[in-house]
Amino acid sequence: MPRQPQAPSAAPMMSRGRARRLASRHVGMALLLSALMVLGGVLLYLWPQVRLVGLGYRQGKLLVQRTQMLQRQKELQVELGSLRQLRRIEEIATQHLGLRPPQTTQVIYVLSGQHVVGQRRE
């Protein structure tokens, strides 16, 4: 007896299409996830590198700044040394402030313990 031709059932047809779609969606998701992971990995790798470069620039600037400040410090030290010239100090002391060297009788040595302050220890 000839087989009655069966009307194609919608359910299996849909399930196959759906399954295909689902499969393709999963593949897409997997691909997307993979891409995201790769991108994340790349970013994770690059971020410290970029940060390192940024810090390098900053360090370079700070080094230049430090050199300039050290240079300024040197200039100020020279100026200080120049201002501390004994000739200049003596001039100020004698001419502007009216100071004069002490007389012998005005100098007093203070005994500290066993020796006179300023006197050599024997």
Binding site: L52, V53, G56, Y57, Q59, G60, L63, R66, Q71, K74, E75, Q77, V78, E79, L80, G81, S82, R84, Q85, L86, R87, E90, P101, P102, Q103, T104, T105, Q106, V107, I108, Y109, V110, L111, S112, G113, V116, V117, G118, Q119, R120, E122
Partner: protein, 621 residues
């Protein structure tokens, strides 16, 4: 059936052509890769490294020179220098006026430099920082600034001849700068940096650019304050006597430390280019030996006493100031008759000294001259030191023995003469004069200990010589060297200068050498005044300088005088009120003298720290 038939793969000539082309292309790429990766690898690696990595050389900063208390006498500061690359300048004549105005140079000079055919031209070196900044603001293509270091001497001429100077290329050319150039210069360091396309530093590959290499710091035995006092008083006296020049050297006898070396006229190392300055750049205390004159009688007298050929009580007839011996006329500055050994030295009689010396053989006299360190370098760490001139007895003529007795036919440097007098001040030991105390390089320090050379005299001779030298100040020619409150020992000298092959009657070298306090010497000082016009004798021209320098130096070193009052710290700190005594008055604002008269005077207590000096009266050999 959906598949109606399969297309047969095309294997025609076009495909083969395409495949062949791709094959060739891949072969070319492969060959190129082999060439690049294998054969050109080292070259390309270097090329790449050069593009992104950059090696810079950090030139070391020249070390400082400091006094014994760490006060800076010489230091280096980075300053801009300006150069031009003429090929890069578009319109030299247009920018020349701007550059010339900033640099303060003649326009014609700048124009000539900017139009030069040289690839590199220095426009100006070691300029003030603000000049460099102004020039940088102009942003002229082909005109650039470069940082160089310049040597600065903040105390100007203070110890200028001792310190020396440094040329524009950073090399020490005189004085200690020259002698210790290697230590002061240091070693350059290299740092490798990674740079981007714009030249900015991305990363430090090797080395630490934040720590600049430095040369060693040189700590001298000099004391800035004593140096200042010596220079001030020397300059004053040279001007007062209208002399040509002068020298003062201060030494600490127990250690041989040189505390001051003053040469007048001064030399300011900051202006070493100035030809007027350069005339006086030599440190004449070691480079210019001179005849010592009567200061040399120390050797004759010491030798006679040490060899027991004379006693201090022996009498000598001084021929009333004139005698002819060995075909040579000898004169004294005053006519003297019969005098004792001590008086001969105290009054500085040439004839008397010659008669003392005749008791010594040539070899004996020569031996003592050498024992006192004459005729050889004192080994002080100063460049250009001369050893002086003393001939061996074989080369002596008839009058040489007499001449040497009172300091002729022999030349000595100021430092040698001072070292000889410290023998008396130092228990009979000859010390090596010390100029550099220690050298500091980073965490390492090299210390130069005081060095004893040898024993010259016995304690008995020393005691007698000390009494004689004290007598020179108290009763003899050196009265003007006396310092109130202290016992001074020393000897004057007036040496005739040699002019046109004979001794000049108008040009003399006035000298004084001595030490103080005589009972426990802390300072030995030599003063030399060259060609004084107003006071010609050593006791008049040079001795007052000794007095002034010694007085201030003793205050500074806090060596109490006989008149100095002392108080115990406990008395001052005791809060319980005590009836005011004469000694306490000054601390409350009234001096002892002022208290009696009712005047109020500010009292001063000397509490400043002096140099760290340890007593070594009789150092071990």
């Amino acid at each position: 059936m959906r598949r109606t038939g399969r297309c047969k793969p095309y294997k025609g000539p076009r495909l083969r052509l395409v495949l062949g082309l791709f094959g060739c292309l891949f072969c070319a790429i492969f060959i190129r890769l082999v060439v690049v990766q294998i054969f050109q690898h080292p070259y390309l690696r270097d090329l790449a490294e050069r593009q992104h990595s950059h090696q810079i050389t950090l030139q070391p900063e020249r070390g400082r020179i400091l006094d014994r208390h760490g006060r800076v006498l010489a230091t280096s500061v980075p300053v801009p220098s300006v150069y031009a690359i003429p090929d890069d300048i578009e319109d030299p004549d247009a920018i020349a006026p701007k550059v010339a105005a900033i640099l303060g140079q003649p326009l014609a000079t700048v124009q000539r430099q900017l139009n030069s055919s040289s690839p590199f031209v220095w426009l100006a070196r070691q300029l003030p920082p603000e000049v460099g900044e102004r020039l940088q603001k102009l942003n002229i293509r082909g005109v650039q600034t470069l940082q160089e270091t310049r040597r600065f001497y903040p105390k100007r001429h203070l110890a200028g001849q001792v310190l020396g100077f440094v040329g524009v290329d950073g090399v020490g050319l005189g004085g200690l700068e020259h002698l210790y150039n290697r230590e002061l210069t240091g070693t350059p360091r290299h740092v490798t940096l990674q740079r981007d396309a714009t030249g900015r530093t991305v990363q430090i590959m090797a080395g630490d650019p934040s720590e600049y290499p430095r040369g060693a710091d040189l700590y001298l035995t000099l004391d800035e304050r004593l140096q200042y006092v010596a220079e001030k008083e020397l300059a004053t006296r040279v001007q007062e006597t209208r002399a040509k020049s002068g020298i003062v050297v201060i030494m600490h006898p127990p250690t041989g430390d040189i505390l001051a070396v003053a040469n007048y006229p001064f030399f300011n190392p900051n202006d070493f280019h100035d030809p007027k300055q350069r005339v006086w750049q030599r440190n004449r205390a070691v480079t210019d030996p001179v005849e010592p004159g009567s200061t040399f009688k120390l050797v004759t007298a010491s030798a006679a006493l040490e060899e027991n050929v004379a006693r201090v009580t022996d009498m000598f007839h001084c021929e009333n100031g004139f005698v002819v011996r060995n075909g040579r006329r000898l004169r004294d500055h005053h006519p003297y008759g019969l005098m004792s050994f001590s008086q001969v030295i105290e009054k500085s009689s040439n004839i008397g000294t010659v008669k003392i010396a005749e008791r010594l053989s040539d070899n004996q006299l020569y031996t003592y001259i050498r024992r006192f360190g004459f005729g050889e370098k004192s080994l002080v760490s100063l460049p250009g030191e001369e050893e002086g001139l003393i001939r061996t007895p074989k080369k002596w003529t008839k009058p040489t023995h007499d001449s040497l007795a009172f300091g002729q036919e022999v030349t000595v440097t100021s430092v040698q003469l001072l070292a000889a007098y410290t023998v008396i001040a130092n228990g009979g030991w000859l010390m090596r004069p010390r100029m550099v105390e220690h050298v500091v390089q980073g965490d390492e320090s090299q210390f130069f200990a005081p060095e004893v050379r040898h024993r010259v005299l016995s304690p008995q001779t020393l005691e007698r010589m000390n009494e004689i030298l004290v007598g020179v100040i108290e009763r003899g020619t050196g009265k003007q060297a006396a310092v109130e409150g202290y016992t001074v020992a020393g000897k004057t000298g007036t040496a005739q200068k040699v002019e046109h092959g004979s001794y000049s009657h108008s040009k003399v070298l006035a000298a004084f050498v001595g030490y103080v306090p005589a009972e426990a010497p802390q300072l030995a000082i030599v003063v030399m005044i060259d060609e004084p016009q107003l006071a010609k004798w050593g006791g008049e021209a040079a001795a007052p300088v000794f007095k002034r320098v010694a007085q201030q130096a003793l205050y500074y070193l806090q060596v109490p005088s006989r008149q100095t009052q002392t108080l115990s710290l406990e008395t001052i700190l005791d809060p319980t009120p005590t009836p005011p005594s004469g000694d306490l008055e000054p601390l409350r604002g009234i001096s002892s003298a002022g208290a009696k008269s009712g005047e109020r005077e500010p009292a001063r207590i000397a509490l400043s720290t002096g140099p760290k000096i340890e007593k070594e009266r009789q150092p071990a050999p």
